[in-house]
């Protein structure tokens, strides 16, 4: 059946047709394939197979990239404070510099996505707890300076008291920076994001911890690497298990976005990197080259996880079934 043919032969039946029962609707896959299917009325349908939602306009390099560098910065701040308190100055310095670098890149990514630096100031016009982006902007504007002061004081050895206070506040704010982005993505109508709202903070938090451990393994003195190796092993495991549990908790219509297409590829690569990094970290001991390899793999794995989750959301927003299917099922019960 082609749409045109229906138009032509349908004109006469238009009026009387209203009383008749089960109809069939032409359904066309997005992407404009020639193929059309007749779907019985009982199945969820959509308007010419078009998405119900508007696709997120966020650019993946900016926003998924921000999730990664922001997570790295937040968790590194925690590392910085913990390493300093436990007498590991080499690790503390690397972590604090990593946090400063991460938050600088974060700001650059966010400003790039907005288009103009001045637009970021509008974020600080109001404080809105109902907007994770507003909350996040305020957290970041406290975190950035704290991470900066902590790193500078560590480098120069000046103002140790202020440095210590900044280190502590950066750690606490950093723990929020590492997880609020999960709330940011799940507080949307995008099914593959929203339906993961219970576990996404765990996925993001663990992914952030594993990237911070990765950075410490790459750049901190290997004599101090014990805690980083422990965190690497535990966080990687939690990251992969919570991601698995999150996608499993979703209906098939929604969860498949994590297994197919670009998201599927990214997440499979993420899993391979993270698993390699965890094992290498576990066996590295104080051997530096193994530690560096582990660290690089963990950093890559964490970044790939964020890009994978991001692309799963885009695919899910494009898929009308992911939106309407679970809603229809809810109405039927």
């Amino acid at each position: 059946m082609s749409v045109d043919a229906v138009t032509v032969d349908g004109v006469e039946g238009a009026r009387s047709g209203r009383h008749a029962a089960p109809e069939q609707v032409a359904r066309r896959r997005r992407g404009g394939g020639r193929e059309q299917r007749m779907v019985p009325d009982a199945e969820p349908v959509s308007y010419y197979g078009q998405p119900v939602l508007n696709r997120p306009t966020w650019k993946s390099r900016d926003i998924a990239g921000y999730f990664f560098v922001g997570g790295l910065a937040g968790a590194s701040s925690i590392f910085g404070a913990a390493a300093q308190a436990s007498g590991r100055p080499g690790t503390a310095r690397v972590a604090k510099l990593g946090a400063l670098g991460g938050v600088t890149l974060s700001a650059a990514a966010l400003v790039h996505d907005l288009g103009r630096p001045s637009r970021f100031y509008n974020m600080l016009r109001v404080f809105k707890p109902t907007s994770p982006m507003s909350v996040g902007s305020w957290i970041l504007s406290g975190f950035g300076p704290a991470a900066g002061v902590a790193a500078l004081s560590d480098l120069t050895g000046r103002a140790p008291r202020i440095g210590a206070a900044a280190t502590a506040s950066a750690a606490v704010l950093g723990s929020a920076v590492a997880t609020y982005t999960a709330v940011l993505v799940t507080d949307t109508a995008v099914p593959a994001w929203h339906d993961g709202h219970k576990l996404m903070p765990v996925v993001f938090g663990a992914s952030a911890a594993s990237s911070a451990a990765g950075l410490a393994l790459v750049a901190a003195p290997s004599g101090e690497s014990g805690p980083a190796r422990q965190v690497a092993a535990v966080a990687s495991l939690v990251e992969e298990l919570s991601l698995e549990a999150m996608t499993r908790s979703m209906s098939d219509e929604v969860g498949h976005a994590y297994h197919e297409g670009r998201a599927g590829k990214l997440l499979r690569a993420a899993k391979a990197c993270t698993a390699f990094g965890a094992v290498a970290a576990a066996v590295a001991g104080h051997r530096r080259p193994v530690g560096v390899a582990a660290g690089l793999a963990l950093l890559t794995g964490s970044a790939l996880t964020r890009f994978g989750v991001f692309h799963a959301g885009l695919a899910s927003a494009d898929d009308p079934q992911a939106t309407t299917g679970p809603q229809r099922a809810r109405l039927a019960t």
Partner: protein, 261 residues
């Protein structure tokens, strides 16, 4: 009228009398200076723009359905419906907007303040109906204002004014709900099975829509979500989870670093 607290205003779009003339689309563009979108036909019947977006604030959907008329005869019916922003009672776009650009007007409608919007784009994936979108050239978001400027001058919205069949009706939301209910009963008495109201229930996932619709088939057929829920409903739980994850991060790091030298 603007001096005293006005009633909540809204649309009732009765798709059963829509003739697909697109006068609403044109009137909206003219009044609101909305740039042109897609010119030419999409191939989806007489649809031009496929869905709502930054440059389409009213969208007329065309659905051609083949269905049996008699035992031995296939017929066809043509559904037409003019879609618009739902001006939700619990509006996700408004909730997530970090700048306060989206606000609720004295008429109970949801409007973007273009001078405040910074183009963060959060409202776009927050809207469960796919209404609001970003203009690529200016980087800000746009959607139906329910003719806020006209309402303040005691005029009805441009689309409702232009609609020749009264498919688009405008007035106090309570009255719109009553009219919708009456019309539904009329159609049901006439034996039209698929007729149903959309968005009229104040207990639904968005607290009821400010634009309600009478449809002749399931919402999905028109590209509408059958049971949308405002994403911020789960927000307190989300903050709770994120808080726990943060504490877990701090505790985990403390454990790893403090245990042994």
């Amino acid at each position: 009228m603007t001096a005293v607290e006005p009633e909540r205003m809204g649309f009732f779009t009765d798709t059963s009398v829509c003739i697909g003339c697109k006068a609403c689309e044109v009137a909206c563009k003219e009044w609101n200076h909305v740039p042109d979108d897609h010119q030419g036909l999409t191939g989806f019947s007489y649809d031009n723009t496929v869905g709502l977006g930054a440059n389409t604030w009213r969208h007329v959907a065309f659905i051609e359905q083949q269905r049996p008329v008699d035992v031995d005869r296939e017929g066809m019916r043509w559904l037409m419906a003019s879609d618009v922003c739902k001006h939700c009672t619990h509006a996700a776009c408004l909730d997530v907007c970090p700048t306060g650009s989206l606000f609720r007007t004295e008429f109970g409608t949801v409007v973007v303040q273009e001078d405040v919007c910074n183009g963060c784009g959060y409202c776009v994936p927050a809207c469960p109906y796919g209404v609001i979108d970003k203009r690529e050239d200016d980087g800000r978001v746009w959607k139906c204002t329910l003719c806020y400027d006209r309402l303040r001058d005691d005029l009805e919205p441009a689309c409702a004014k232009a609609c020749p069949t009264e498919s688009i009706q405008f007035g106090p939301l309570e009255e719109m709900r009553e009219r919708a209910g009456d019309r539904l009963r009329e159609l049901q008495t006439a034996g039209i099975d698929g007729a149903q109201l959309y968005g009229d229930d104040p207990d639904d996932g968005v607290g009821g829509q400010g634009s309600i619709f009478l449809l002749l088939d399931e919402p999905e057929v028109y590209g509408l979500p059958p049971d949308p829920v405002v994403c911020t409903r789960d927000l307190p739980a989300m903050w709770g989870r994120a808080g726990l994850a943060s504490v877990g991060l701090l505790a985990g790091a403390a454990l790893a670093f403090m245990r042994r030298r």
